[in-house]
Each structure stands twice: as C-alpha cells, then as structure tokens.
Amino acid sequence: MNSESRENTPVIRLSDICYSYPGGPQVLKNLDLCVMPKDRIGILAPNGSGKTTLFHLIMGLLPPDQGTVEIFGKPAVTEKDFAGARKRIGLLFQDADDQLFCPTVIEDVAFGPLNMGMSRRDALETSRATLSFLGLSEFEDRITYKLSGGEKKLVSLATVLAMSPEVLLLDEPLTGLDHDTRIKMFSVLRDLDLTHMVISHDLDFLTAVSNEVYTMKDGKIMPDEDIHLHRHEHAHILGHMPHKHKHQ
C-alpha cells in the first residue's frame, strides 16, 4: 500500500452498527462512524449513551448484533482479525484496575510488547523508554495495587503506549485525576500527535486535544454542532492548557 492510499483509508469505519446488551435496551442503533488518519476526535455524551460500548466494539471485545467493523480498511469479524487490529489500536480503560493486572509496573508495561513477540530485552527497553517518556521511570519496580489512582492511570497509559499504537482510544482518561496529573495527561496527548478518540465529560479538555467533537444520541454518533461553533484559534499565556473564557 502506498502512502497516498494509506492516508485515504479510514483507520476505523463502522457501518450500520446495532448493539444491545443481553436483556437490555438497544445502546447503539444503526451507528456509522469513520475515523481518518490524524483525526483527533472527542466524544462528549451523557452517561449510558454507549460510548464505552462503542470502544469495546471497535476493539472486538463485544460482537455487534448487526453491521460491519472495518479496521485499517479491512473488515474485522473474527477474533483473529481483531487480534491483528489490537496491535495497532490502543484502548485505555476507564478503570485502571482493569488494565493493570501484573504484580509490578514494569511487568505490566512489558506485557503488551512481549505479546507482540519482542524479546525480553527489547520489551524491557521499550517499557523503560515508555515509562521515562511519561516521567514514571522510578515506578518500574513498584507494586501496581499500591499505586495511587493517578499513578495507576498514567501507568495504564504506559502499558498502552508501549505497544506503539497508531490509534488511541481513551475512555474517560481524566476521571479521578488531580490537577497535576490532568495537565500531564493533556500534554502527553498533545505531544503524541496520534490519531485518537477521547471520551470525556470535560469540555475544555476535549476541545483542547481534539479537532472535532462528537456527541452520541439515540444510539448514533454525530458531530456536536454547538461545540463546533465555539472553536477558535487564539494565542495567549497558558493558551495551550485547558481554560475557560470569561465571555463564554
């Protein structure tokens, strides 16, 4: 595949997706979504509107009742298709305790790289580099369950980034974080320059790290018109941080 066509191939394309939890109401209804390379999408939607479900469908953790999932231009149906896709798409779970399951931090970060077939040495090197990129070098031998909530979240992010994904799916990355960790999460996302989709309830954060903000309604995903109107270019001190304007 040449670079030209690669740039025009959607990284994620969902068509006519329906999903309902067993015995529950339909969460996603004929949902269509197309994510192009370099897209930075923010999703702002009420609880229970199916945001997390959407991410889990993309990762192949839940099978859609109807519709097709295409990842990097190829239809993904079987577990094998998704296994390939998961190496290129990283999902940060809402609850860090779901993501971190190894006794120590370094083992957890190296888990993905080792699964990708890296040698023990390369996996360690990659994991250390990732931890140091996130400023977590001294956490290497810490016991995961003893970390604070914010630390857990950053280590979770490290476990995802260690697999050098091309696309990031972040499920409420700011929940439960203190001010400093929020700033860190924000600057990491800004510096990474990956294709990403971020679920958050924090509008300032979303507009700062995304170039499009979507919302979910009636089981569908759509651009959020109201927020679009608000987007503007500006430059002032601390302008790169999430902030509020007085006239808003």
């Binding site: 990762m59 192949g60 305790d97 006794p103 888990f111």
Partner: protein, 252 residues
C-alpha cells in the same frame, strides 16, 4: 489485610535465589512429611529452627503464625490419644489414653511445625511475585502460577469493593444482628461481591486481549544464581539426607 511481613529483610536466606529456595522448600517438606521416627523429626525441627534463625525473622510473628497451625493440631491431641489403640497409659473413666496415639500426635505436632517453619523461612521471605516467577521457572503448571499471581493482584481490589459495600450499608444504619433482615443483607453483600468480581474478571480479560494476550504468559524475571545458592543446596540436601538416614537406619 494481606501483608508480607517476612518478605522484607536482608538475611542470608533473603538473598538466596527464589528458585533455589522454592525447590528446596518443596523437597524438604515432602521428606519431612514422609518420616515418622522421632530422631528424624527431631533433626527436621532443628534444621527448621536454624533456618528461621538464619532468616532473622521476628520470632513473635513466627510464633503467631505457628499458633494457627497448632490450633488444628490441638484437635488431634483431643482425639488421637483415645482413638489410636496400642498400649494403654492411663485410664480416664471410660476413656483410655493410648501410647500409640500420644506418640502419633507428638510426631504430627513436630512434623507440622517443622514444615511450617521451613516454608516461612524459605518462601515467606520472598515477595509473592518472586515466588510466582520462581514457580514459573521451576515449570509449575502455568495456570496454577497465574491463578496465584492474579489472585494476589485482585484480592486487594476485591477487598476494596467489599469495604465499599460495607461502608454503604453502614452509613445507612445497618447493624449486624440475629435477624432475617441481617442475613438477607449479608447474602446480598456476598452476592454483589461475586457479581462484581465476575464483571471485573471479564473487563480484565478484555484489557488483556487488547494488549495482544493469546493465552501465553511471558515472564520478565531473570534469576542469577551465585555460588552461595549451590552451597545452600548442598546444605539442605545434607540435612534432608540426614533426616532420611535417621528414619530408615535407626541406631539401635
């Protein structure tokens, strides 16, 4: 809740390779469990005490751990002397105290204490993660190793969820008492814990799949065995041989 009070330390035993210690503990325990003569058991007890001393553990804590096992052993003392027939020592009304039973109870007491002390000295002196890695390297079944590691990881999360539920019932005025309402509440609490644990397990498995998990675990741990480990292996082998000799080739 779960602490590892013995894992921190810098004694001779703490510095030994976890693989050697785990293997030695298993071998030693199997041998001690299979001997019954008092000279052999005496030596085993002595060796275990020496190992506890070498590990420089807080004796009070070791003692409390031993108490738990000896609680069970106490029941044997209540039953065995009266049921294992052979050589009446004392007649207690309708009950007769048998020598065979007394000796058996004594042997089991020494044996269980020797084994427990060896386990404490050799394996409780390493963090559970190290034990898991050592077991992995010693080719224990993988499922067993990861069951242990994941249990260790998530038992704290479950504890937190349990505490959360308990807090939730307490702030709404729940007081444990003997009533149907109380039993029902406890049944709900336990049920809710199971539901949460299974939902958690599903999410963890999903997260593992997202990171390319296909059923095979890779271990990062690397062990390097220094000469001290071989000396230790020799010593424990000699001790084990001594126990066997005393068991099968008595002096008389």
């Amino acid at each position: 809740m779960l602490e590892e009070p013995f894992a921190a330390g810098n004694s001779v035993i703490h510095r030994l390779d976890p693989r050697f210690r785990t293997a030695a503990a298993i071998l030693y325990c199997i041998i001690v469990a299979s001997v019954y003569s008092f000279p052999a058991l005496g030596l085993a007890l002595a060796v275990s005490i020496v190992m506890i001393r070498l590990a420089r553990l807080e004796l009070k804590r070791v003692f409390y751990r031993l108490l738990i096992v000896n609680g069970f052993v106490a029941f044997l003392w209540l039953v065995l002397p009266f049921t294992a027939h052979g050589g009446v020592v004392y007649q207690l009304g309708p009950l007769s105290l048998h020598e065979k039973g007394l000796l058996l109870a004594a042997a089991i007491t020494i044996k269980s204490n020797a084994i427990l002390m060896a386990i404490i000295a050799l394996t409780a002196t390493m963090p559970l993660a190290a034990l898991g890695h050592a077991m992995n390297r010693l080719r224990f079944p993988e499922k067993l190793v990861y069951l242990l590691m994941l249990t260790y990881r998530y038992i704290f999360v479950l504890e937190q969820e349990y505490k959360k539920i308990i807090r939730a019932v307490r702030i709404r005025g729940f007081i444990p008492q003997t009533s149907v309402h109380c039993y029902k509440t406890y049944a709900y609490i336990i049920g809710m814990l199971f539901v949460r644990a299974s939902a958690r397990a599903e999410r963890v498995y999903g997260a593992m799949k997202c990171r390319g998990f296909t059923g095979k675990f890779y271990s990062l741990a690397q062990f390097r065995a220094s000469w001290k480990n071989y000396v230790f292996s020799c010593l424990i082998t000699i001790a084990a041989a001594g126990i066997i000799v005393l068991e099968y080739f008595p002096h008389e």
